[in-house]
Amino acid sequence: MTEHPLLQVSDITKTYGGRIGCADVSFDLWPGEVMGIVGESGSGKSTLLSCMAGHLAPDSGRVIFDTRSDGPRDVLAMNEPERRMLARTDWAFVHQNPRDGLRMGVSAGGNVGERLMAVGARHYGSIREQAVDWLGRVEISSDRIDDRPRQFSGGMQQRLQIARNLVTGPRLVFMDEPTGGLDVSVQARLLDLLRGLVRQMGLSAVIVTHDLAVVRLLADRLMVMKDGRVVEQGLTDQVLDDPQHAYTQLLVSSVLQV
């Protein structure tokens, strides 16, 4: 294994006044790996995700991403246009609430096409063709292409957000509770969709969730956070089946059996 990590996160710390958001978080993410981050509300997992994705400036730390064009670069040291370009090309961000990731006043096809145009696609016919293709891949029928997202159900909106994010072929996807707020039956379909896309596209992903069942099915690796710090990390089924830290043991033993 001589390849490089796709993402190297080291010593990320973010405080809000005197309060710790997240502290001293480090990990490497390899191409094709899916990492889950779990912890209760307020454990710092969303803060960490925002720091990595460049939505929030951490107090200290480095986020090195292996860019397609220039190799490993520190994302936090990039200027704003560079980072925005990265967010549109190599990266994707799937928000918990589809409203945060979609343009609600623009048609479904427009939502997907817009991201293509942002990276320079200009030919209307091929943009529409790709939009139709992607709506199909996320199981939205092509006769809904001109409808606006607000006419869609929550599950459809989430699938549309995924299509909008993945149409440009990113290599790294950040997901914040992607199945949160959805019915369990809709969740299952979304999980299957995400798993298939990750496999077909060789995507790497960082998924923040509080749902241990979701990480078991989606993530290769797992990081457990409490009070802003990582208390345990490792192979997903090892962390869940043989938890070492007191907090992880509590978390795992607290899940209700169906």
């Binding site: 294994m1 790996e33 299952a188 299957d192 078991r216 290769d220 690796r221 090892q238 070492q244």
Partner: protein, 225 residues
């Protein structure tokens, strides 16, 4: 192919007064290519624990576990992921799948992860499912609604869809009728003849005698703890 040497393991129960339970010490065994070794010992003696340490979902505290070229004890997650992708197969007693995914996809998935084209992977899945007498009308349904015996066979189909150089089998013939049990025993014999190193737990004594070349009693790995 599989070599376990001087392996030890204990559980620390932080939420129950930090009790430390040593469960294994000095565990050792080897499984050569083309050989099937059965683990025996009373219930609770550590058969499944040892199996899980080799699979990597239980952590190994001391000693060495080698599967092919990989040292499992203390391995990085990505090393274990790579090991499971191409080298080590596992038939567990439980089927864990994304709800609503069709049986045929569940069975074909390990091949797709290895980069086999979806059509070829599905064709291979059909062959294995047919052999295990899962009727074609069930292939497009999710196995979550199947009977225990059917789920077990889906699990076995998934486990035998690829010619893994090493395999772990946890009670592969439990809850199967005589006909399907014979099919599974044949699958095991075929895997052996292709050179697979197989480590299994079989409570079914007759099945064990039919496929195992040797037995290892794990009771000795926890004596005196």
């Amino acid at each position: 192919m599989i070599a376990v040497a001087n392996v030890s393991k204990s559980f620390t129960l932080h939420n129950q007064g930090s009790a430390v339970l040593p469960v294994m010490a000095g565990a050792a065994l080897r499984v050569a290519a083309g050989e099937c070794v059965g683990l025996i010992g009373a219930s609770g003696s550590g058969k499944s624990t040892l199996m899980r340490m080799i699979w990597g979902n239980y952590r190994t505290d001391g000693g060495s576990i080698r599967v092919g070229e990989t040292e499992v004890a203390g391995a990085e997650p990505r090393e274990i992921i790579a090991l499971r992708r191409g080298t080590l197969g596992y038939v567990s007693q439980f089927l864990r799948v994304v709800p609503r995914v069709p049986t045929i996809e569940v069975v074909a998935e390990p091949l797709m992860r290895l980069g086999v084209a979806p059509d070829a992977a599905r064709a291979r899945a059909e062959t294995v499912l047919t052999r295990l007498n899962i009727p074609e009308r069930l292939w497009t349904l999710s196995p979550t609604t199947f009977s225990g015996g059917e789920q077990q066979r889906v699990n076995i189909a998934r486990g035998f869809i690829h010619d893994w150089p090493a395999m772990l089998l946890d009670e592969p013939t439990a809850s199967l009728d005589a006909g399907n049990r014979a099919v599974v025993l044949d699958l095991i014999r075929e895997a052996k003849s292709r050179g697979s190193a197989i480590l299994g737990i079989f409570h079914d004594e007759d099945a064990r005698n039919q496929v195992c070349d040797r037995l290892v009693d794990v009771t000795g790995f926890s004596e005196g703890l």
